[in-house]
Amino acid sequence: MDAHGGVDLRVEISGISLQNPVLACSGTFGNGREMSAWMDIRRLGGVMTKAVTLDPCAGNPPPRVWETPSGMLNAIGLENKGLERFLEEDLPWLHDMGVPVWVNVAGFTAAEYVEVAREVSRAKIASALELNISCPNVKKGGLHFSADESEAERLVSAVKGAVDIPVYVKLSPRTGDLRGFAGAMVRAGADGISLINTMPAMAVDVETARPRLGNLTGGLSGPAIHPVAVQMVWEVAQEVDVPIIGMGGIWGWRDAVEMLMVGADAVAVGTLNFTDPTATLGVVEGIAAFMRRKGYRRVGELVDLARRGRSGAAG
């Protein structure tokens, strides 16, 4: 049937065909070019780009990263070269790779989100958009939209009105009424949900009483947040019937399978890319080996399995 020994890893979400359910998380994979020195990115299910803002963005003052037990804090601050150069240099390159691309969109005002989304959609070579309304590292925009459901709804419908590709909304672990919020995003037009972004977090050097990050606070990612992400995907999956891309501390195939079993249709690998730039392909192979061992033939058989209460082989 394919290169994975009898198991079919293909999934289709929002009309986009993925050769396997493993994507790379926004901000942890650049825009693919650097990583292509380490792996064949055409073998990925998809790539979620680094956040794109309307104007070039220099990002936050260093230090921008700090390691914590089984995790890391980051406050990059959306460093990117802006919409124009992204459309000229990065998006066409990714498109030529033939890999589905979710363009991560960020902004400091709603109008900026809409403009970036419109122009990316107009380029006709992006598969989908991922609205980053959950970045903890910028003062305006970002997480601000996660705190106000009606503002987020207005943003999603404005973006939907300006584009003709699927729109995913990326949720923050700091969302009060998670189910209510996810439902509202779908009613406002979201074609899919991705979660989770990093958790707002902080560390201080007690010798100097100074915060470890130049931005003072940042976002926590890595294995430390994985169980939080699993629970959040589990909850959102009970609420919405649009596709879900699950992410947060995936550190190998087992974590990816776990994410599928609580209701994610696909997964995205983030911080693990920093430890091993070829890790995503290992996750793909690991999922295939697991499916062979358990007798599953299609990825869909794993999705939501934890709720459906099956633990043995599918048949």
Binding site: T28, P62, N74, T271, F274
Partner: protein
């Protein structure tokens, strides 16, 4: 081309606060002086690799010099023959060797690592160089100063006056030379780089253009994707470059020293 290697440690030499780990590497591992390897430093909840400059490249081997600075480097310093290291490399942009005139190398502490490799390369290519190496006290790096003095013209500077020049490596370097050096290469703590840059700027307007520094910044990925290891650069104003992939070596006039100073 950089790659991921699982290399066997075949030797360890202890030099006071630091240890040299000698590893067996394949022929295709071809580091340039100033490049680094990104090393996985055990488990215990440490998920990020640690950057270490290439210290030497010999027949079938390469080595790093590890100074104990925290938990990861302490784990690494205790490795020895029989252990394997998971490394990515060689990474980053190294030193530019082509320059006219004499070479002055200024090292602070473990900043000697990339400069030792550079000195060896320069001498192999028939160039001359002078190394000013600063440390707290003469015994800090065990017998390493004696070992290196056999290879190159290495002068010590000890802050406590226990050996060589009493004072900083920058003071020593400025006494030794400064007008005649075609190129000044440096690696060490940020304060050292700041004071060296200030002194070079005093020499003449082109002073900073003749300076190449290897900067230390906290890194996550090491391959240019996370934008974590940001270094303030002069052009465009307010911008940053990645220490891991645009550096770790930068020309003095590429950096924004005012913003560098504000970081410390």
């Amino acid at each position: 081309m950089p790659a991921r290697y699982l290399v066997a440690v075949v030797g360890r030499r202890d030099y006071g606060c630091a240890s040299e780990l000698v590893c067996e590497v394949p022929d295709d591992f071809r580091p340039h002086p100033g490049q680094f390897v990104h090393v996985a430093c055990g488990g215990d909840g440490r998920i990020l690799r640690r950057p270490f400059s290439v210290f030497d490249r010999g027949e079938g081997t390469a080595s790093i010099l590890v100074r104990e600075a925290g938990e990861g480097s302490s784990w690494l310093k205790r490795r020895g023959p029989g252990d394997r290291l998971d490394i990515l490399g060689p990474l980053g942009r190294g030193f530019d060797l082509c320059a006219e005139g004499g070479r002055l190398l200024v090292a602070g502490g473990a900043g000697i690592a990339p400069l030792r490799f550079l000195a060896k390369r320069l001498l192999e290519e028939g160039e001359t160089c002078l190394v000013a190496w600063g440390m707290g006290e003469a015994a800090e790096y065990g017998v390493l100063p004696d070992v290196l003095k056999k290879e190159a013209d290495v002068r010590l500077a000890c802050l406590d006056g226990s050996g060589g020049h009493a004072g900083s490596a920058v003071d020593l370097a400025m006494q030794l030379d400064r007008e005649s050096a075609g190129q000044v290469y440096a690696c060490g703590p940020r304060e050292m780089l700041l004071s060296l840059a200030a002194r070079m700027e005093e020499v003449d307007r082109e002073g900073l253009a003749r300076l190449q520094v290897s900067v230390e910044e906290r890194m996550a990925c090491g391959v240019g994707v996370c934008r974590g290891c940001a270094v303030p650069v002069a052009e465009p104003p307010g911008a940053y470059r990645a220490a891991c992939s645009d550096g770790p070596v930068f020309r003095g006039d590429e950096l924004d020293w005012m913003r560098m100073a504000a970081l410390t």
